[in-house]
């Protein structure tokens, strides 16, 4: 079984093109998912390519229309970077633990495509684009098209997530909530990202996304568009209706971490409290 360590990004693309390899970044998901008995090698069913040390994937640059975040950036480095949008910082701060954040990459959080991935609702709300590259081509895929189910994503075998592109925006109000089993180092039972822009009491932009309440992050563009143009008073008056509309799309499950009633109720509570805080 090949376990390859490319020296350059170009070499990585070549390797991915030549063999069926699993991309191994920080390993904070993969090393656990494939673990064996202690002192045995993890059991990756295929070969791997270790990209964690590719400096070419560790960058953050702000350009006119987009903020570019290299997929190899660790959660800790992104959290501490001045360019990082506040909403993302708020999410990263309460993700995992320092030791994990020092290894975990943003590419890995997206690549893992877990319904409980905490950066995901934020990236949905920020309209992030996932930039995929192979030896043949480079393409941008909106995050909500990239992730299609738990662990399922539209990426070809020879592609790699090169970076995340976040379009510039004028969202002035942002909120991230993570509901885990405890205060730190917990997997989300529910996560919530909200962002809005309000001018003269009128909603100009409104976006919310929920994590861990369905197979993928829930964001409803049509429901959001109904709110744009309304006054805050209108929205407060109609809050029940808004919640009940969202309620139709929040269909969580029971598992060992929580139950569906709780997840749904709290997701809507978080939405309500976000709307009322505008």
């Amino acid at each position: 079984m090949k376990n390859l360590i490319p020296k350059t990004y170009a070499e990585a693309l070549e390797m991915l093109n030549n063999d069926n390899l699993r991309i191994l970044a920080g390993g904070t998901d993969l090393m656990i998912q494939n673990r064996s008995w202690s002192n045995m090698l993890p059991d990756f069913k295929t070969g791997t390519i270790l990209i964690f040390n590719l400096e070419e994937l560790k960058y953050m640059v702000q350009e006119e229309h987009f903020l570019h975040i290299g997929s190899g950036m660790t959660l800790e480095d992104i959290k501490d970077n001045e360019l990082t949008p506040k909403l993302l910082v708020d999410a990263l701060k309460i993700m995992a633990s320092p030791a994990i954040r020092n290894m975990a990459t943003i590419g890995g959080n997206i690549g893992n495509a877990s319904p409980a991935g905490d950066s995901l609702p934020v990236l949905y709300v920020l309209n992030a684009l996932v930039v995929l590259e192979s030896v043949e081509a480079m393409r941008d895929v909106p995050i909500h098209d990239f992730i299609i189910g738990p662990g399922k994503k539209t990426i070809k075998q020879n592609e790699i997530i090169k970076e995340i592109k976040i379009p510039t925006n004028n969202l002035t109000i942002v909120k991230f909530d993570k509901i885990g089993g405890r205060k730190a180092d917990a997997i989300s039972k529910i996560s919530f990202a909200g962002a809005a822009h309000v001018k003269n009491n009128i909603i100009q932009d409104f976006r919310v996304a929920f994590g861990a309440v369905g197979p993928t992050v829930v964001r409803k563009y049509d429901l959001e568009s109904h709110l744009v143009g309304l006054t805050l008073d209108d929205v407060s008056l109609n809050i029940k209706e808004i919640l009940s509309e969202y309620g139709k799309y929040i269909r969580p499950i029971d598992d060992q971490r929580s139950n569906k009633e709780y997840r749904k109720e709290v997701a809507l509570n978080l939405l309500e409290s976000f709307i009322l805080s505008l």
Binding site: W37, R182, A184, E261
Partner: protein, 696 residues
Amino acid sequence: MKDISKSVRKVDSLIKMSGEAKYVSDIKIDGMLYAKTVRSSKSKAIIKKITLPVIPEGYHIIDHTDIPGKNFVKIIFEDMPVFAEKTVSYYGEPIMLVIGEDKNIITDIISNIEIEYEEVTPLFENTNSAINYHFTKGDSNKAFKNAKKIIKDDYDTGYQEQLYIEPQGMIGYIEGEKVTLIGSIQCPYYVKNAVISILEAEEDQVRVKQAVVGGAFGGKEEFPSLMACQLAVALRKIKKPIKLIYEREEDMEVTTKRHPAWIHMEAAINDKNEIDGLTAKVAIDGGAYIGLSGVVLSRALIASTGAYTIDNIEVGGDVFLTNTVPNGAFRGFGAPQMLFAVEMFIQHIALELELDPLELRLKYLAKQGDATSTRGKFRDPIIMNDMINKGMEMSDYKNKVKKYTEQGIYKGIGMSWFLHGCGFTGSGEANHIKALVKLQKDIDDKVTILIAAVDMGQGVQTTMKKIVAQILDIPLDQVIYNKPDTDLVPDSGPTVASRTIMVVGGLVARATKQLKEKWVDGEAIIVSERYKQPEYIKWDEDNFIGDAYPAYSWGVNIVEVEVSPITYQVSLVGIWSVYDVGKAIDERIIMGQADGGILQGVGYGYLEVMKNVNGKIQHKNVTDYIIPTTGDTAPMETFLMDNPYPLGPYGAKGAGELTLVGGAPAVALAIENAINKKVKSIPVTPEYIMELMKNG
């Protein structure tokens, strides 16, 4: 003379901080093999056939056919097999070990073992009673017959996992016929006796040594005997050193946990609004084998009136066997379940009768001279009134509880009162353990403490040395206390039941006084002491009559919380405790027990969820089984009130379990105060709080 409570540096912290301390998984022996357990994948089944792959040279299968003695783990009953034979009774029950040098090959062998089962309908309900206890005090029948009102409530508590950070492990080697086992254990002689029994060996053919123990909390009381028996059988056959270390998931799925309990309480209220009688009916889930469950049940039943005196009571309960992982010892040992029920019930009685809960509780608070739940006597002074006042003052309890009762604040404060019987229940100490301790002075005047007590973090290496050094008035480093090795130390009993300082330490103190009298510089001297039960203590084991414990430690816990009305999550705001442990042998060590114990108790009350579905543990790793982190803990303030116990060393009583048992009711009462709904089940999860706030 200096005050013994004044803290000294713990004698084992340096090697723990440098990474030099050797825990069992750190030990390597040349030529060592690894063992892995093959387990049942059914909750209940008959094993029809086992087909093994070709076993390569140097690899071994060890199962029940290799056992020289009788196939059970010696503890109380002959019920739990070391390896399953014809049937399996829970998911994860050990069937055999696969042993060899290369873990890859072992894994390969295991994946090619085929076990054919004939499944039998497993039992998960509480219907198969293995043990039933029942006792009375006064005349509860009459109280209930004359009652103006009868108040009833049901309480239940979940599993709790010890979650020592070091998983279970054992390593063994053989020299001739003699097997030596080194393990992460609490009770070297439990292990030794179990191994003697399984091998039908002679006393001197089995040696058990303690490795540094990375936390235990009861989880390493009886469970390690199973691993030791399996290894010992393998050692006899293979004759090479073998290491058996559990992975975390394995540990969480198959090792003993705190018994889930269901407790039905009834109170007879007379026409003066007094609690005239009380009944408690308890069911605990023992899992597939009885193990220590009977002892756990009896401690629970004896705690049925908590820190209160109720004249007429009737108490009963069962250990039910189910096809689930066997439950066992865990710090508190049945008391945490019962104390939760008692503390909630008395609060609920007050609410029902529209009485001030504090007044009602004070009215029934036990006093010196009162009869205990088993018609024994609280002989020693009880200073709970002072302790309660102190606790209320430290936490501003009275103001807060009133303020927080108002709607819409979502803050709460809860106070629990409790006692913990020190040492073994009943006559265990006198009839079963008969502890023996020795002190050995060498010609260089160094004194070695020879006891089987294990330091698992609770600090006995330090406190025992302090007792000896202080009595002899010699420096601490003139006293030696190595990790127990059954070839060197006598059986001073297991490190359990908050008995170590009070009972073993008491014997060590007596032996030291003896040594002091006989002391001659430069001469080798050995002294010993054996436990004698105080004359006045009488216990009728069959009828639960008399003094269940020689002494009691007492405590007050106060917990303040905030509950989010949006997410129903609980945040701990502050924790205050007042304890009477007689006399602290080392104040900082007791403070450490206090902090760690209460967080474990509070965690049990609101955070730690473990469930089994169809016999399979669902929360089987540290990601899913949530224990508190630094982010969850709260500032803690602890106050110790001296109340020396005449028979303990320097007046010391038990402390290790006391600090856990009141945590759950305190946090549950705090949550109740915050949401103004009755809490009847722990852990009080956000999911449960939501249900209560919406429907309860």
